[in-house]
């Protein structure tokens, strides 16, 4: 059930009506059943996986809390981590691991032993269960927090399963923390007009970002990444920049719909994006991008590694950064291209950490605005560059794009300069920039990106929904109508276009 489909709208409406009609003590039952139903609309038999993870982690939480000796608690925690990571590994990484292993074996067979290559006999032909990375991470975080003594074990299994499987965040997060969500399940949720309407507005804005901007950008980006051999230089740069915005609009659009759906039911989910494109460094960027994931890695991977290797002084930080981002890259997908993506992030963050002092000296000599602007641009450029590995179909495509990133650019500019006729004529010379689309389509897309950035600039000065609610009725209603009409006119209503992060 796609978030942007009529069935989801009817589903949310039904849950909404029933939720507020039921007394508080029964509301969790509705949320749990509807979440199970929601999950089963994809691959019904896979429902046993999140339920199994839930039951195991629920039991582990109770046992850790009740364990008399720390060593027992640690043993149970390790067993629970092994179960969760094992499930994730079996469903998501086993083909990648065995495939990589046999690639190495075949390389040795062919080059050293001059023998024939062997096929990987361990290929598992099953689909990765949706949302498995998010569910396991929530379960892992929950048990670690109990072990650390920061979280009480949940006694009510139904409520715990509801936390783990709450449908708005089930498929792509946010990776919600138990201490934030579980108390909300105990609170009463009377119908709150403001909260519900704010949720609906957020859903509309998320839909705008996904259908109008992200899916439109996808039509540009796909043509290049599907056949990179047909393109070069300027087209790769445009595609890389467009993909950065596509990914942002796709994922933050999804998150807005998830948070908005939760708001409609009276729940508050954690923020996942905080204007990432104003970041002046990659370190700042990762504090603003996919926050629920980056903070999860910070708390459960980075910090423990730094503490464990603290004797290495500053190299402990570098080591922890590289390890964290290696795993973060792998989390995105079982492929070497994601590993490279993660390692590139780790590399630049390490460089930023190691060059903190000289960079501070240089930046103190630059005017404030120049320094700020330069940081923002460089961060954006670097992130867009790393996303080439993220988006390319495989590592060889990514390498092809990277190695041809500047190919043909001088020729392109010479052609543009020698173009005959007034502005608007002979638009064919701009085809490498338009990526096979019409000039008008390209211009509209660029305008939409500018519009998005402008809205975010206003949003940074205060919640736009609050500002809007202070306006006269005709302004408010005009904006709502304009947004919906805009979505209808410029939206790409192709239901086969799933959210990018559903894959992870």
């Amino acid at each position: 059930m796609n978030f942007l489909s009529l069935p989801y709208a009817f589903f949310l409406l039904s849950v909404f009506l029933l939720f507020y009609a039921l007394p508080h003590r029964h509301q969790w039952k509705l949320l749990l059943t509807s979440s199970i139903f929601f999950y089963m609309t994809y691959i019904p038999q896979y429902i046993c996986i999140p339920i199994f993870i839930g039951i195991v982690s629920y039991g582990a939480g109770l046992l850790i809390e009740r364990s008399q000796r720390p060593v027992w608690g640690k043993t149970i925690l390790i067993m629970n981590l092994a179960t969760n990571i094992g499930i994730l590994a079996v469903f998501k990484y086993v083909n990648f691991m065995t495939g990589s292993f046999f690639k190495v074996i075949n390389f040795i067979q062919i080059h050293s032993l001059h023998a024939k290559a062997v096929d990987n006999p361990l290929v598992l032909n099953w689909l990765v269960p949706l949302g498995i990375s998010y569910i396991t991470f929530q379960a892992i975080g929950y048990t670690i927090e109990i072990y650390r003594g920061n979280q009480r074990a949940e006694k009510h299994m139904g409520l715990f399963l509801t936390y783990l499987m709450f449908f708005p965040k089930l498929l792509s997060g946010p990776i919600e923390r138990a201490h934030n969500f579980l108390p909300q399940l105990y609170e009463e949720h009377p119908f709150d007009y403001e909260r519900v309407t704010n949720g609906l507005k957020l859903i509309a804005w998320g839909a705008f970002k996904k259908i109008v901007i992200a899916d439109r950008l996808a039509s540009f980006v796909s043509v290049v990444y599907d056949k990179p051999g047909n393109y070069q230089g300027i087209s790769f740069i445009v595609a890389a920049v467009f993909f950065t915005f596509q990914l942002y609009c796709d994922f933050s659009g999804y998150t807005d719909i998830a948070i908005g759906s939760a708001n409609v039911l009276g729940f508050q989910l954690m923020k996942n994006f905080n204007f990432p494109f104003i970041s002046r460094s990659m370190a700042e960027f990762w504090r603003r991008w996919h926050i629920s994931l980056s903070t999860w890695f910070f708390e459960y991977v980075y910090n423990p590694v730094v503490i464990a290797t603290r004797d290495w002084v500053q190299w402990a930080v570098v080591y922890a950064i590289v390890v964290t981002f290696f795993i973060l890259g792998l989390w995105h997908g079982a492929s070497w291209k994601f590993v490279i993506f993660g390692l590139l992030q780790g590399m630049i963050l390490s460089i930023e950490f190691l060059t903190k002092r000289p960079r501070k000296i240089i930046s103190s000599k630059l005017p404030g605005r120049v320094n700020h602007g330069l940081g923002v641009v460089l961060t954006f450029v670097f992130f867009s560059f790393t996303l080439i590995f993220f988006r390319a179909r495989n590592l060889s495509d990514a390498w092809y794009i990277v190695s041809h990133l500047f190919a043909g650019i001088p020729d392109f500019f010479i052609t543009v300069i020698h173009r005959q006729g007034p502005l608007g004529t002979n638009m064919e010379v701009f085809q490498p920039v338009f990526l096979g689309n019409r000039a008008i389509e390209f211009c509209v897309t660029v305008m939409l990106i500018i519009f998005l950035m402008a809205v975010e600039a206003v949003q940074r000065r205060g919640d736009i929904r609050i500002r809007l609610s202070q306006q006269p009725a005709w302004v408010r209603w005009g904006c709502y109508c304009a947004l919906i009409v805009f979505i209808l006119i410029f939206g790409y209503f192709d239901i086969s276009q799933q959210f990018i992060y559903f894959k992870f």
Binding site: V196, T197, G424, E428, R438, C443, V444, C481, I484
Partner: protein
């Protein structure tokens, strides 16, 4: 009580959006029909051709494959009768193109249907985005919309129609473009000439046909109904299979042969030739697997003439 207020407000919002939508659809600024240069505007010239010419005529009905792939003056010369080529776009749907010629068929006319295979599968018979475009831009076309299914198609595709009109409005202000797809690329008989001896700007795409869904018996019924009507008016009707690019034909051969078997069994329109007779390699096509280029058009027209001479 507060929830009722919420639903009332949502209802009001839906009403306002629907009203704005309708106003945009009906009154979006567009050039006067006579000055409109979009490809679809050629439909108005084709209507005028039908109105101003008198029987006996050869009236060709079909989609863009027909517009791109027929040399009507050559047929006129060979057959000695006036030729009207009504082919323009498959997106109008077969139901629409059959309905728009009906009022103009007179005694002695010969109607030749050369339509895309897609029209006989799924809901393509009731049109697509292009039907919404002509319904929005050209009020005179609305009179030929006869089924509620076409209205559903128009509503579903109205965002595309409004967006297309907006883009057209903006791009005329911002960019002057020269496309093969232009109203003024048609000759006096309704053949498109804009693509002849040119390379497609975005390259050619010879993909399999967009055959979506199962065979639609309504399409054959509509052809049979037209056949009955044509006979009543003292005219004649024939069907000729569309010309296709070889790889596309091979990819969809199964569906095409299924259609040929159904035609043989159920169609009351005489068929001239078989589906495999006008299959050419991609060198004979412009941008799509049914859009013949100058070379392909010449050969195909000769073959059409030969077939027509055998029955007329």
């Amino acid at each position: 009580m507060i929830m009722t207020k919420l639903f009332l407000k949502i209802g009001l919002l839906v009403f306002l959006v629907a009203t704005i939508w309708l106003l945009l659809f009906l009154f979006f600024p567009k050039p006067a029909p006579a000055q409109d240069s979009v490809y679809e505007a050629a439909i108005l010239d084709k209507h005028r051709l039908l109105k101003t010419s008198s029987p006996p005529r050869l009236i060709f009905i079909g989609g863009s494959g027909l517009a791109f792939g027929l040399d009507s003056p050559l047929i006129e010369k060979e057959m000695g009768v006036r030729v009207v080529n009504m082919g323009l776009h498959g997106g109008f749907g077969l139901r629409y193109v059959l309905s728009e010629v009906r009022p103009f068929i007179g005694k002695g006319d010969v109607v030749i249907v050369i339509t895309d295979y897609e029209q006989f599968f799924g809901s393509t018979f009731d049109g697509g985005a292009e039907l919404a475009v002509i319904a929005m831009r050209f009020p005179e076309c609305r009179q030929y919309i006869t089924s509620w299914k076409q209205y559903v198609t128009i509503i579903k595709n109205s965002p595309y129609a409004i967006r297309a009109s907006l883009y057209n409005f903006l791009s005329h202000q911002l960019f002057s473009t020269s496309f093969a797809y232009c109203r003024f690329a048609f000759n006096a008989n309704g053949d498109s000439l804009g693509h002849l001896n040119k390379e497609p700007p975005g390259g050619a795409a010879f993909n399999p046909l967009m055959i979506n869904g199962h065979f639609n018996p309504e399409a054959v019924a509509a052809l049979n109904d037209l056949a009955g009507y044509v006979h009543k008016r003292g005219a004649r009707i024939f069907l000729i299979y569309t010309a296709l690019e070889e790889k596309t034909y091979r990819a969809d051969e199964k569906e095409i042969n299924l259609l040929a078997r159904i035609f043989k069994k159920e169609l009351k329109v005489p068929i001239l030739g078989g589906p495999s007779e006008d299959i050419f390699t991609e060198d004979y096509f412009y941008d799509l697997p049914s859009h013949l280029n100058a070379r392909g058009r010449e050969i195909r027209t000769q073959r059409v003439i030969t077939r027509l001479k055998s029955v007329l």
